[in-house]
């Protein structure tokens, strides 16, 4: 692995250079930026040489917008009379254009890997993953709502990134972690990092290893049925308003629904974000709804993240970014839910 020492000016120049030949995205600062056809709110396109500042804590928008866009075209078709291809489903052209996401934090980088577990055979997710280069920044400072370590992550970790920037004296250390990262850095005349800087970073990582497994282990030892029947769900079901805010801002909520949209004879089959908070999500064609009550839907979201997903794939389906903690309209705090679940005997 190559490690370079990079100054802020060099970093800004690099971002400007990349944006000449590729689409480069960076976190939007201040008021939420508008959604665009190719990405959601919270990000903006990096253009020209404006200094890159990465806000403390996760970016306003989660990184899933680049891999699991809202919406994503799965098929196209024509319903025009006389069209010889009328009614024929066609695959859209595969997206291959390279995109660079600069400024994500280790929590979001980890979400890419976690979502890849259910999406490992999903051609759309895989195509987007292949064309995206992740340039992330490890965290020196956290917000009070950050809890990545409890969920198995670490603020200084580089998992899921192609290039990891970490604070060093008078600039950054850039670790080039993958061939995609190497390709992005190719041709740049950069100074290799001094051994002392590399050791300093390694020492910081040793001091704060994170990646706690205590909660995961305890939760996995709990009886699913007892967690399901626990009295803690009653107050959550009372207060939850069943909006989709938590699921849509969550980097690891990945549920979708599929619909056909036809405009003037041209149709497209899209998949778009769905939320287990919505009654329609679990409504059967018979009219029966197995999660017809609010409490059942609220319970499902937490049980999925903290019990069902780990049983199926291993880790929690939560990276501890704290976005839902900040933005839940009724202050349902997943850290409190988790603490309550851990007391269930």
């Amino acid at each position: 692995m190559k490690v370079f020492k990079i100054s802020q000016a060099e970093l800004d120049n690099m971002v400007a250079l990349w944006s000449q030949s590729r689409k480069v995205y960076r976190p939007a600062v201040g008021r939420q930026q508008q959604a665009q056809p190719d990405y959601g709110p919270g990000w903006r396109k990096a253009e020209g040489a404006s200094p890159l500042t990465v806000p403390i804590g996760p970016a306003a928008g989660s990184v899933k917008t680049f891999l699991f866009p809202q919406p994503e075209t799965m098929m196209t078709y024509s319903l025009k009379t006389g069209d010889p291809d009328r009614g024929l489903m066609k695959e859209p052209a595969k997206l291959t254009e390279s995109q660079v996401v600069v400024g994500l934090r280790p929590c979001d980088a980890r979400s890419v890997l976690l979502n890849n577990l259910p999406f490992r055979e999903d051609p759309f997710y895989q195509a987007n993953l292949e064309r995206t280069v992740f340039v992330g920044f490890t965290c020196d400072e956290s917000l009070s709502t950050c809890f990545c370590e409890q969920m198995g992550g670490s603020p200084l970790d580089s998992d899921g990134l192609d290039i990891a920037f970490s604070r060093a004296e008078n600039g950054y250390l850039a670790e080039i972690l993958t061939p995609k990262g190497e390709e992005l850095m190719a041709g740049l005349n950069l100074a290799p990092a001094a051994n002392s800087d590399i050791t300093a970073l390694a020492d910081r990582r040793k001091e704060r290893p994170g990646k706690d497994t205590a909660i995961l282990n305890t939760m996995q030892g709990k009886d699913l049925n007892k967690l399901y029947e626990a009295p803690l769900w009653q107050p959550l079901g009372d207060s939850c308003i069943n909006c989709g805010a938590c699921t849509f801002i969550c980097p690891t909520c990945y549920c979708f629904d599929i619909q056909d949209e036809v405009v003037k004879g041209s149709g497209r089959r899209i998949r778009y974000w769905d939320s287990c908070m919505f009654p329609l999500y679990s409504l059967h064609t018979t009219g029966h709804n197995p999660r017809g009550r609010k409490l059942q839907r609220t319970r499902n979201r937490f049980m999925h993240k903290l019990k069902y997903f780990p049983e199926r794939f291993g880790p929690f389906s939560c990276v501890g970014c704290g976005r839902c903690v900040q933005d839940c309209p009724v202050n349902i705090d997943i850290r409190e839910v988790m603490a309550d679940l851990l007391t269930v005997e």
Partner: protein
Amino acid sequence: MPTINEKISEEIRAQAKKLLAEGTVAAVIGYASGSLPMTVKPLVVRRPEDCGKLLWNTFCVLNLANFLPEVLKSVEPPRGPRDPKPEGPLPKVAIMATGCWSRNIVVQIQEHQVERERVVVMGVGSRGMVSRRKVEALFAGREILAVEELDHDLIVRGSGFEEKINRWSVVRDNCQTCTHPDPLLVDVRIGEPVSDRKNPNPFKQVDELEAKSAAERWGWFTSEFATCIRCYACRNACPLCYCPTCFVDDAKPQWVGKSLDATDTGLFHVMRAYHCAGRCTDCGACESVCPMGINMRLLTKKLNKDVLNLYGIEAGMQPDSPLPLTTYKINDPQKFIVTEAGAGKEGE
């Protein structure tokens, strides 16, 4: 000395405990403390011993009337969908209510979502609720770790800073322009009544928008709603939105597209606002809960202005009068109706 809201909190706890212990009500809808500064949790208390959790502060931005129909249902004895209503009175529910929330309860009663005799309104005069966003905007880039509430100031603390700010300066826009802060329905009075506020122009924000050209208004509309993620927090926080299936969720027929297309998103917001015409009390819950900070409240505020000007009605102010938009009077203003004879003569 305890602050006004600390005294109110004490009274709420005592009254709620009394109502539950006496068996007057089966549940009390109120607020408990939140896990972050400037947040509260809506709480349904069903046992007298849990009343200690209840509190009142300047951050109670959700409209509790939103929870009322469901909590009323939850305290009824269980019965099947086709079983008849049980004999005798059904259990009651107590609910905290300020001016606007109490008006929403009036609307719920008028619209037959709630039975008056099953509700015990614990009325609190509102001093205006603080917008968390406004406070955060004052401290951009610095994380707020604690906010202490005094009667007229807030003390905001973070790592390495402590500042005192004026409370009214960060009160929500809807509360600043509110004219009826005292509850309209009161069964149990909490704290002192507050008098109506003389507000020279409660529709100032709407007037400013109306004064713009069509192109400027379109510019405002498209940019304001461009960040919407269609999470429907605005709809779900609204006590007026109680349809079992919302028009945006309907699949047969489908009225609105499901993705982030600007037309679909705009249509959702416009249609939602129109469904609230003549019913909205400008409680501001929609705006307060939006994770993207969209000011969709201006749409309903505009319709509140129109309904007041056209029909002389403010939602929930006259419990015995019929609802403005479900009542026809021969002298109703109908300039907006397109008739065959008038077609093509727009602006006449």
